[in-house]
Symmetry: C2
Subunit: 123 residues, 2 copies
């Protein structure tokens, strides 16, 4: 029936993360080109801030592998700052987000993490 | 004989890298504390610059796993800038260095890389 409002559980209204899945072989395989370095440095830079790293860890370790701002506001910064950093992590492709009603839920993108781990593989 | 000058092959006159071997469990195991995040973010930040990432990759992939500034100056920045970035990577614990005669040779610290890879392990 058209007057039944669906629960917004699968509302994917948030834009998906940019396609930043690493392009690149392990860092020790051959020297990176400028373009490879540009793409890859974005992800490392996103984790290179202590507050972002705590937030990322809070999302990654949260029950069910996802969290909203309401779940992870205990890192000593304001909620707008939390939202700002979560957005940065999303822009770097490390988190995905999904709006459900009032809140946006963030989830770690496992394929990107795995690819970053591969970059660090030692020859 | 005291008048025989040893070749400076093992001259460890460069200060060793600070003890920055990651302290910490995978990012997805539990929320990082502020102190853990401070220590770990330094390493990610060091790789979060495209020029540093190219230099790191150049050292990591160079024959024998080590390189001097003279080997890796083709990343489009001046040699002093190369030296500056190599120093930053060393301060973050990602490279070690050893002086041999005129040149300082840089080498990737494999244990730190492996530990960083572990941080990114997906639960």
């Amino acid at each position: 029936m058209s007057n039944v409002r669906a629960l917004p559980l699968l509302d994917r209204s948030e834009a998906p993360a940019a396609a930043v899945v690493p392009c690149c072989p392990p860092l020790s395989e051959r020297p990176f080109t400028a373009e490879e370095a540009e793409r890859t440095a974005r992800m490392f830079k996103a984790l290179g801030d202590p507050v972002r790293l705590r937030l990322f860890s809070a999302v990654a370790s949260h029950e069910g592998g996802e969290a909203c701002v309401c779940d992870i506001s205990d890192v000593g910064v304001s909620q707008p700052t939390v939202s700002h950093h979560l957005k940065k992590l999303k822009e770097a492709g490390l988190l995905t987000s999904e709006r459900r009603g009032t809140w946006v839920y963030y989830r770690v993108e496992p394929s990107v993490l795995a690819a970053m781990g591969q970059l660090l593989a030692v020859r």
